[in-house]
Symmetry: C2
C-alpha cells in the first residue's frame, strides 16, 4: 500500500490530538470516524486520556501495538515536526495535516521542515491547512464536518483547495441531491498534489467524475501527463480561481498559491482535455451530467418541448455553444406526425404545444430514443396552465426506463416555480439529469459532448486542440 492508497483505503487510522471536548477538532474527527462506522481500526492518540468515546487512547503513536496506515494530525503547527518524526518511525504511510499556520501565513520554513522529515521516512502528507478527507465507499470520514454535512453517496469526487468552500459545496451537493464518492481538502499542497489524487481517483471504480476547485498547480508538467491519462477514463472538471491579477493576489494570501497567468492554465486544461468553468454552478451542472450512465453516440441533438419560447431559447443556446441540432429526416418526421396530435409542430424542436400531456411526451420520447439517428435528447417541460409537470415527468421517466437501454444521453429541463423545482428533483432522483431552464440543460449537454470529443482527440492525436 502506497501513501496515496493509504489516504483513501487505510486499514487503520490514528487521530493525533484526539480530544474529549466536543468543540475540539480532535474530538470531531474521531467522532466522525466512529459515527460513519469505519471498518478499520481507530486509534485515538493523546497523553492526557486513557480512553475517548469508548476507544483506548494511546499516549503516543509509538505505543500503538499494530500498524497504522493513516494518521490525522490535529495539533498546533509548531508541534508538528516532532509528531511527523514519530509517524515516520512508526511507519505510517500518510498523514492528514489539519492545522493551519504554515505557508499560507508566510511560514514556508515550517512547512518545508515537516515535508523534509516526512520524505526521510516516506510518509506522504495531505495539506497542511486542510479540512480532512472523506472516502464514502470505505466509510472513511476523517474531517471535522458536522453531521448535517454527511454527503449523499455517489460517484463524484470533489477536490478542494479551499476548506471553507469545500464545506459549503458539500452542503450544496446534498441539497442538489448529487452523490459523492470522495471529498479531499488539499490545502497548501506541501506534498500530495492534485496529480497524486486524480491518479488514484482515475483508477477508482467508485468515481466517475472528478471535480476540482483549484487555485494553483505546482508541477504543471506532471499534472498534464496524469490528467490526460485520467481523461481517457473519466472526466475532470476544474473551477480555477486566481484568473486575474487581483484574483491571483487574493489567492496568494489565501492558500499561498503561486502566481501564473491564467492563459497558461487554459492551455494546460485544453491539452489535457479538462473541462473548466468560471462558475461553480455550471461546474456542478456538468458533474451531474457526466456522472450519469450515458454513452456517446454522436452529436445529433433533438429537442422536445411544450413551450415554443423555451424551445427557441434552447435552440439558440445549442447553436451558440457549437452543438448540433439535427435536421429531422423525412421518414422520422412522418413517424412523429403519425403518433402525435395534429396540432403538433414536428420540427426540431418538436413543439408539443399547449395541450401536451403525459402521453404525447411518452410517445415522442419513445420514438426519439428508438431512432438510432437521434444521439441526444433534451426534453423541456414548461409549467403552463395545461401541463402538469409531475404527470409529464412520469411519462418521460417511463419512456426512459423502458427504452433507453443503450444509455443515450437524455436531459430533462423544467421551467416554472416551486412545483417545477420539485419535479426537477424527482426526475434527478430517478437518474435522469434534470435542470431548471434551457441554458443549464444545454450547458450539461455541452460538457458531455465536449468531454467525449476531447477523449477522441487524445486517442487520435495524443493531445486536445
Amino acid at each position: 500500500m502506497n501513501g496515496i492508497s493509504a489516504l483513501f483505503l487505510p486499514k487503520s487510522v490514528a487521530v493525533i490530538g484526539a480530544s474529549k471536548s466536543p468543540q475540539k477538532i480532535g474530538y470531531r474527527i474521531l467522532n466522525n470516524l466512529i459515527r460513519w462506522k469505519f471498518e478499520g481500526k481507530i486509534y485515538p492518540v493523546n497523553p492526557k486520556y486513557n480512553e475517548i468515546l469508548g476507544l483506548k487512547c494511546y499516549p503516543s503513536i509509538l505505543e500503538i501495538p499494530d500498524d497504522v496506515d493513516l494518521a490525522v494530525v490535529t495539533i498546533p503547527a509548531e508541534a508538528t515536526p516532532h509528531i511527523i518524526e514519530e509517524l515516520g518511525k512508526k511507519g505510517v504511510k500518510a498523514a492528514v495535516m489539519i492545522p493551519s499556520g504554515f505557508s499560507e501565513i508566510g511560514r514556508r520554513d515550517l512547512e518545508q521542515k515537516i515535508v523534509d522529515i516526512a520524505k526521510k521516512y516516506g510518509v506522504r502528507i495531505l495539506g497542511p491547512n486542510v479540512f480532512g478527507i472523506m472516502y464514502i465507499p470505505e466509510k472513511l470520514n476523517a474531517t471535522f464536518a458536522a453531521e448535517t454535512l454527511d454527503p449523499h453517496p455517489g460517484n463524484i469526487a470533489l477536490i478542494t483547495q479551499s476548506g471553507a468552500l469545500g464545506v459549503a459545496l458539500i452542503g450544496w451537493t446534498k441539497m442538489e441531491n448529487l452523490g459523492l464518492s470522495a471529498m479531499v481538502s488539499i490545502g497548501n499542497k506541501a506534498d500530495i498534489d492534485d496529480a497524486d489524487l486524480i491518479s488514484f481517483l482515475g483508477n477508482d471504480p467508485n468515481t466517475e467524475v472528478i471535480l476540482i476547485y483549484m487555485e494553483d498547480i505546482r508541477d504543471p508538467r506532471r499534472f498534464l501527463k496524469i490528467a490526460r491519462r485520467v481523461t481517457l477514463k473519466k472526466p475532470i472538471i476544474v473551477i480555477k480561481a486566481g484568473r486575474t491579477k487581483r484574483g491571483i493576489r487574493a489567492a496568494a494570501s489565501h492558500t499561498g498559491a503561486l502566481a501564473a497567468p491564467y492563459y497558461l492554465y487554459e492551455a494546460l486544461f485544453k491539452q489535457a482535455g479538462i473541462l473548466y468553468s468560471n462558475s461553480i454552478t455550471e461546474a456542478f451542472y456538468w458533474a451531474r451530467m457526466l456522472s450519469a450512465p450515458y454513452h456517446y453516440y454522436g452529436d445529433n441533438t433533438l429537442i422536445i418541448t411544450n413551450g415554443g419560447g423555451a424551445g427557441v431559447i434552447a435552440t439558440d443556446t445549442i447553436e451558440e455553444k457549437g452543438l448540433k441540432l439535427m435536421e429531422l429526416p423525412d421518414d422520422l418526421k412522418r413517424k412523429f406526425k403519425e403518433i402525435l396530435p395534429p396540432y403538433v409542430q414536428v420540427g426540431n424542436p418538436i413543439d408539443l404545444a399547449a395541450y401536451a400531456d403525459r402521453d404525447s411526451y411518452y410517445e415522442a420520447l419513445t420514438l426519439a430514443i428508438r431512432d438510432k439517428r437521434v444521439h441526444a435528447i433534451i426534453v423541456i417541460n414548461v409549467h403552463t396552465v395545461h401541463a402538469i409537470p409531475h404527470e409529464v415527468a412520469d411519462g418521460i421517466i417511463e419512456a426512459v426506463e423502458e427504452e433507453n437501454i443503450y444509455g443515450k444521453p437524455i436531459i430533462y429541463c423544467g421551467i416554472g416555480g416551486e412545483k417545477a423545482v420539485e419535479v426537477i428533483r424527482y426526475v434527478n432522483e430517478r437518474g435522469i439529469p434534470a435542470y431548471w431552464g434551457p441554458e443549464a440543460a444545454v450547458s450539461a449537454l455541452y460538457a458531455f459532448i465536449t468531454y467525449h470529443n476531447n477523449k477522441r482527440k487524445i486517442i487520435e492525436k495524443g493531445i486536445v486542440i
Copy 2:
C-alpha cells in the same frame, strides 16, 4: 384615457365569451377579475347566460348600459372580426385578444382584418394569441392563470412574447420572492407592441424595472426612440430569443416572429442602453438587483468574505466583468484593523476568515457603509463549520438597516446547502438583494453599474457606445 392606459387602468372590463364552465378560459378570466377584487365594473358577455358568478351577463357588448374601457375577448379566432366591429361601435378603448389561430399558424389575413377594423374605430389590440394582462396595483387580473400563480406584489413589470414561458416565469418569481407590478403577454403583436408598453410602464410609478422576453421587434426605430427615453427613468432588461439561424426559424413558427440577424438587435439594445442577456436566470438576477432602492455613487467595490476561495472567485469575476475592486486607502485599512480581530486579512477582499461571526460582519460592514469612498459592497457568507449563516445574516441586516441611509448598493452572497438557501431567501425578504454564489452576486452588480453608466452616456452623448 388612451388605449394603452385602458389596458392597465380600465374603469370597466367586459369579458366577451364569459362562461359558467370552470374549465373554460371565459370562466377563468372572469373568475380572476372577481377573485382579485378588481374595483372597476366587470361585465360578462355571452348570449347563453343571464348571470355568471353573481354578475349580470349581457347578450352583446352593445347592450351594456355604461362605458366599457377594456374588453377581454375569449371566442374562437374566426368569430373575432364581428366582435371587434361591435367593440368599435361600443367605443371600447382596448381589447385583449386571447385566441390563437392567427399569424402564428400563417393566418396573416385574419390578423390583418381585425387590426383594420380596430384601427377604423380606434380600438387598440393586445395580441392576438395571448395569455392576458395583470396589473397588480389596480388588482387587475385579466388572464386565465391559476390561483397558484398569483404573483407577489412588487415593482418588476414582465412583458412576454411567449405565453407558456410567461406563466412559468410567474411561478419562478413567486418561488424566488420577486415582486411584480405587471405581467403582459404580448403574443403576435398585431397592434400593441413593446414600445407601447414600455412607454406606459416607463411613466408608471409602480414599476422600477421592465423585463422583456422578446422574439422580435416590428418597428425598431420607434422602439429605440422610446426605449432610450425609458432607460433614463428605469432599466429595461431583455432576453432576446431567436439569436441564431435555427433559433430564428423556431421563433418564426412559434409567434410568427420576423427574421432579423441578432447583431442588429444587439446594436439597437446598446444604443438604447438596454441590458440584454442570453440567460433567463441571469436576467432575473438583474431584475432583483435593479428593483432594490439603491443609488449609484461610483464603481469602487469592496468585498467582505469569510471564505478565502469565495473571495478569490468573486475577485476574478469582478475583474473579468470590467468592474472595479477598489484599492483600500491606508487610513481605511487602519480603521478596519482597529475594529477587527488580529487574524483578519485586511485587503480587498477583506477576509474575516474561519471564525467570522455576526459581530465581525456587523463591524466591517458598518465601517464600509459609512466610508464614502466605498461605493458598492458584496458581502459573502460561506456556510462553513464555524459561520452560522443565520446569525451572520442578522449582523449584516442590522448594519444595513442602521447605516445604509443613502442606499449604497449592498449585495449578499451565500454559499452552501439548504440552510444557506434559506438564509438567502430571508435576506431577500429584508430587502437586500441576495444570491447563491459569487458569480450571481457579481452579475447583479455588473447590471447595476452598467445600467447607471448607460444612463450617464445617454445624458452626455444622447447615445450609448
